[in-house]
Amino acid sequence: MKKGVIALTILVILVSFPLASAGKSEVVKEDAPAKITWMLYGDNTPTENNAVLRALQEKLNIELSVIYVPESDYMAKLNTLIAARNLPDVFWMDGNKLDAIEFRDQGMLKKLDALLASDGQNVLREVGSSLSKAPVNQKDGIYALIPGSINYTSNLAIRTDWLENLGMDMPTNLDEFYDVLYAFVHKDPNGSGKNDTIGYVGTMAGLRTFEHIFGAYGICIDKPYLLADGTVTTYMKAPLYLDAIKYLRKLYQEGLMDPDFATMPLMSAFEKLWTGRTGVFDFQNVGTTNNWMPGRYTEPTPPTFGFTVLAGPGGSGGAIKQYPRYKYYNAIATTSKHPEKAMQLIDYLYSQEGDELTYLGVEGLHYEWIDEPNGKFALLDKFKDPATYRSDGAFVYNHMWPLVNTEVRTLNKQTQEGQAFARMNSVEYPNIIASLDSIGEYGSTLSDITKEAFAQLIVTRGNLEAEYRNFVRRWEQEGGLAFEREATAAYQAQLAAEKAAN
């Protein structure tokens, strides 16, 4: 009898769960706030009814439900929702991984021109002139919005405290850079009396860590290259590619470069910088001199850094130029019942007020400005703990990225100046906006070949030129020529369109 009662209880519980959830009936009052669902990616852990969400709802008079998906699984979830025709009102798409044009043609993306005119003044002010350059917007109107800001440019950071200890100046060309690396390895730059420092730390897990050496040869690593005859090809076929490889080979053979470059995870490369084993690092300085400073550095006195650009055979150099993110889309679904409210939400997030709210939290509750023009602020009371701070919604919902966004404004002075310096000295490449079929078909094979070539040519003891020619031949045979044809045509068309527009 007792067992029967237990079994019955379990059954009732099991049955009641779905019924309780599925049986929700919606009673909509006429003056009730519009319900908006917004899906975005992120790896924070906000609570359900946090202060930032409440502030957004109050400001816009909406009932906002956020579907907050781990970044690594966002595209899987979005694809599933698209297949199920169950899209949220507002959502983000990565146009490099997903065919947004097809979804537009299937009628899943709301045409935004009218909404932009009525409710999108901030959006238009931020990105109005560049919206039509996004591939998805090149048919008959605007279907998706793009960010105002661009990605951070890489900086070659060199420890100035070590340079001072050695009586050396900041290197400005490849020869001086070699001398600095040699001294960092052999002349005890940290004064420890031990042989505990290494030279150049770069890793294939993050090819950005080689940007400035290739930049000195006029090459943007892992990006397309424009040959003198107008052909767009792989950076591996750039005329000075082999010279760049020879420079790295020299560092490798003379022990001035970390020998684990081909297998080292990016995090291990970071750790070599944080623990004071290397004094040279090529990465976006938002890490080096801002986000990691001083907490991540393990030495008693945090290191000091300066930034430089290495001049190569052509007398110039720099990092890879960053272009607008034409395929970072935010869109409104055609199924949205309140598209005007959805646009108002997006528009608010493009404004400085909305960006501050979603990045820093609620002013007076989470933080207060100390020196607003210079981006200095302080967190208040219990929100000095980052877990509590983020669980209440700060650092979570800033996804529209206006040009001068709060993140950029709150970087320290050295980092902001470093970014400006890097942008001034960046190397251009043919940035093709259109999606290429050959990339979809051969992209991963071609990328594997160039990566294999990079590692092999640095460490090989064989005939460098012959091996290089083999890699180029393989690249061409396995889809490279098709890529060249398509990329060249697309780039020429893009240039012609830009010329016509100007």
Partner: protein, 300 residues
């Protein structure tokens, strides 16, 4: 006599050497099995900066609970724990009820067409609907963003059901026949005869379902939208990745300590928090585990 003694001594010496080698190998094997867990635990209890120098961890370096403090700082982890514990308990219970009630009839020769029925279940082991069709079915039943979405889609696993079916087959039908003669019906026989004699298989399959429910991640991402229904694995995944964004807070007054927490330390603490409940439960049912599987594998 003397020769025999020497021989025995030699044998004894040889035995001892072999015994020592076996023990050494087993100790090495044991160490290689246990050490990864120990490493994770010790690393998670070490100060991030000290831990960064790498190497083996036999004890914490500069004992520090910062990673655990970060994990347990907000209420959300307790919500995630609650949801995962509930889904594990309810999901496993439902799975066992369905599996036992399916396996039992399929194990009895008096059920006509049991071969065909078994094939229907076996088919699902070879082919499944895939992510999107499964989502569509979950959606069609109105389960999206409900607790039921964590329970029903994976309520029965054919592999586990077959383990039980094969085990039930080993129970002699004569036991049932005598019960029938005494007036018992099929349900009584299942409840009072089959289940009590199948404890090893039931324990093993319960553990399979329990661990699967505990570890399942993708259904928490695909079917759940609300934070109130977030499960532990999704929460921990976000928490782990969020350590990187702590960096962005490091320049802010008062946050440098938290920002010094490395991804690696957070990863280790997250693994410890995630597997600890399973490790605690495992020894209690581990003794059933091996016997349950092997017994189910042998056909009478």
């Amino acid at each position: 006599m003397k020769t025999n003694e020497v021989k025995r001594m030699h044998e004894s010496l040889n035995d001892r050497v072999v015994y020592f080698v076996i023990c050494a190998l087993l100790a090495l094997f044991c160490f290689s099995t246990v050490y990864p867990f120990w490493h994770v635990l010790m690393y998670s209890l070490s100060n991030s900066k000290e831990a960064m120098s790498g190497g083996l961890f036999f004890k914490p370096r500069d004992f520090d609970l910062l990673a655990y403090r970060m994990i347990f700082k907000t209420n959300q982890i307790f919500i995630a724990y609650r949801n995962t514990i509930l889904r594990t308990v309810i999901g496993t219970t439902l799975s066992m009820i369905l599996s036992v009630m399916t396996a039992y009839p399929l194990s009895r020769r008096r059920l006509r067409g049991r071969g065909c029925l078994s094939m229907v279940f076996f088919f699902t082991m070879l082919f499944n609907g895939g992510m999107i069709p499964t989502y569509l079915i979950v959606q069609a039943y109105g389960l999206i963003d409900t607790f039921g979405a964590l329970i029903f889609p994976l309520a029965m696993n054919a592999y586990n059901m077959f383990i039980l079916r094969n085990y039930f087959k080993t129970v002699p039908e004569s036991l049932e026949e005598s019960a029938f003669i005494d007036g018992a019906n099929s349900f009584t026989i299942l409840w009072k005869i089959i289940i009590p004699v199948s404890t090893p298989a039931l324990a093993a399959v319960t553990m399979f379902y329990g661990v699967a429910n505990w570890n399942n991640y993708l259904d928490g991402v695909l079917y759940i939208n609300s934070t109130r229904l977030e499960i532990l694995q999704v929460y921990l995944r976000k928490l782990l990745a969020s350590t990187g964004t702590l960096n962005a807070l490091s320049g802010i007054d008062g946050l440098s300590q938290a920002a010094s927490l490395s991804e690696e330390s957070m990863k280790m603490a997250t693994i410890a928090v995630s597997i600890l409940p399973v490790l605690v439960v495992y020894p209690f049912i581990q003794r059933y585990y091996t016997s349950g599987i092997t017994a189910g594998a042998v056909k009478e």
